[in-house]
């Protein structure tokens, strides 16, 4: 049953188009415009060509921020995806427990991002925070303000706290859609718990896992508010990820040209990597094991 061709459907899409054009296309054009111009102030601009792009692509500062962001996203995915799957597998399937788990798990997702930062900023403090205080009491030297490694530890555990539930909820939705007969057949076939997971549950979660990986990659790659509140990008520049660097460049230093060039490169990297993830995962799903 194919959908009928109807060009009038454009009228239905028009409001979305206008709105998104206003809120996305115009700003994006501004960015492109800045990225190829230079200014000495007084609203006088002149053509700079690809100079800003070249400068940005050669800049060690950009490379470092990009590297930090890639490492951050990689760690996030490596922790959150398996953990989310384990949590989803552990969730109750019926009864009041389901509602309780859903509500409690969704809670961190609905906290404003700077409050998430504040919660962990406080929680990790050695003097007044439970985490920092406990670690100190255990004799572990922990201070996220001074030690880069501790700062990383804090923002990673914060992100795990903040977003693992999203992965878990997605996987849970995939799990509950598996018909009971599959589990019965597996029992009859004498399948082990691992085999049930590997050959029934994992294949059925494929689709939601793709979405989970994409969302978690994109959002961790664009992260700004939470680490900014906790560490402000420090100590030094150790937790300055791309977004933090970009805002520093654009709002802090008001270097519009480089900031615009960086924005475009940044956006393109997100698009490219998302596309790679998407292609690899859909191929994996279609192709071999």
């Amino acid at each position: 049953m194919d959908k009928p061709i109807n060009q009038k459907a454009w009228f239905l899409v028009l409001p979305v188009l206008l709105l998104v054009a206003f809120s996305a296309v115009i700003p994006l054009m501004t960015v492109v415009n800045y990225s190829v111009q230079d200014t000495f102030g007084n609203n006088e601009f002149f053509w700079a060509g690809t100079a800003w792009f070249e400068e940005m692509l050669r800049s060690p500062r950009f490379h470092q921020a990009l590297a930090r962001n890639l490492i951050f996203s990689a760690i996030i995915l490596v922790i959150q995806i398996p953990l989310g799957i384990v949590v989803a597998l552990s969730m109750p399937r019926k009864g009041v427990g389901v509602s309780i788990c859903l509500v409690l798990m969704a809670l961190p997702l609905l906290i404003p991002w700077n409050v998430v930062g504040t919660i962990w900023q406080v929680f990790g403090r050695v003097d007044i925070g439970l985490l920092g205080h406990t670690l100190e009491a255990l004799g572990i030297d922990y201070n996220y303000v001074r030690d880069p490694l501790d700062a990383w530890f804090t923002i990673i555990i914060m992100d795990v706290w903040h977003w693992t539930s999203l992965v878990a909820l997605l996987c849970y939705a995939g799990l509950v859609s598996i018909p009971e007969a599959y589990y019965q057949a597996a029992r009859i076939d004498g399948a082990s718990r691992w085999a049930v997971f590997r050959y029934i549950q994992l294949p059925k979660m494929n689709r939601v896992l793709l979405i989970a990986v994409l969302l978690r990659f994109m959002d961790s790659f664009m992260i700004y508010t939470e680490p900014f509140v906790v560490t402000g990008g420090g100590p030094g520049n150790s937790t300055t990820v791309l977004s933090i660097d970009l805002v520093k460049l654009a709002v802090g230093q008001f270097d519009l040209g480089p900031a615009a060039a960086m924005s475009i490169i940044y956006f393109l990297i997100v698009l490219l990597l998302s596309w790679v993830f998407y292609t690899v995962m859909t191929n994996y799903e279609r192709g071999g094991q």
Binding site: K3, I5, N6, A9, W10, L12, V13, P15, V16, L19, V20, S23, A24, P27, T30, V87, S90, M91, S99, C101, L102, V103, L104, M105, L107, P108, L109, L110, I111, P112, W113, N114, V115, T118, I119, V122, I128, G129, W161, L169, A173, V176, S177, G190, R193, I211, M218, F221, M222, Y224, T225, L242, S243, V247, A250, S263, Y266, F267, V270, S274
Partner: protein, 302 residues
Amino acid sequence: MSTGVTKSINLNGPAGTLPASAAKAHGFVAPPKVRKPLHLGWLVMTIYLTFLLLPIYWLVNMSFKTNVEITNTFSLWPNNPTLRNYTVIFTDPSWYNGYINSITYVVMNTVISIAVALPAAYAFSRYRFLGDKHLFFWLLTNRMAPPAVFALPFFQLYSAFGLIDTHLAVALAHCLFNVPLAVWILEGFMSGVPREIDETAYIDGYSFPRFFVKIFMPLIASGIGVAAFFCFMFSWVELLIARTLTTTAAKPIAAIMTRTVSASGLDWGVLAAAGVLTIIPGALVIWFVRNYIAKGFALGRV
């Protein structure tokens, strides 16, 4: 469980008509290992939920303490519970105005997003038209735009239109992420409604708008609920853009919170109380839509 194993061995024994020797030759002697199912689920959930709730509990705990108690003694619960921190917030209009601001632009954004996404999602789910696939994909790429990229251009754009520090500015800016999302979720729900229903309605003489409002929208009510929930959620939690586009009149609660604290030094108690108050609306929303959350996630569209 161990008795089950021994019994099943008996079963394979002489009773079967297949000669036992043949079974041995094939190696079909090992019965399946009968495992006691691992009920570690509750343990994992308990640990995980504790992990989720501890930092929140700590914030709540602090919000009922005085600053002296917070900084001088370390206790797992307030020794001298006080409501002072909350009183500070509720007696200062700049605080509760922050709430009203946040709620206002979040609701505006949700209404706008759903209103424009509904017809578009219908078009994508029902018709083919020139460039539909590219358009759909392009819409989704907007979800991948880093907010930091848009912060500055948004500021300039809305300055040019004189919209800076208005609720509308934030609501429109958040449409960048929420409209693609709403279109995506709604398209999924709409594709689940058989097209025969549309055709029957047109044959019965319904006009498109009347059909859409009277018949179609009730059918995808849960989809609208799910989409609205996600719009609400993303608009409520996003702060980078909301803060960039507002100065005083439309400043969101979460932004006021950090500013007030930095202005008044380290008033931890008030900070904690303000944090707790920003969690409550989200918690309420989840509670009301809890039965729809799983359904929305089940579509695999977030």
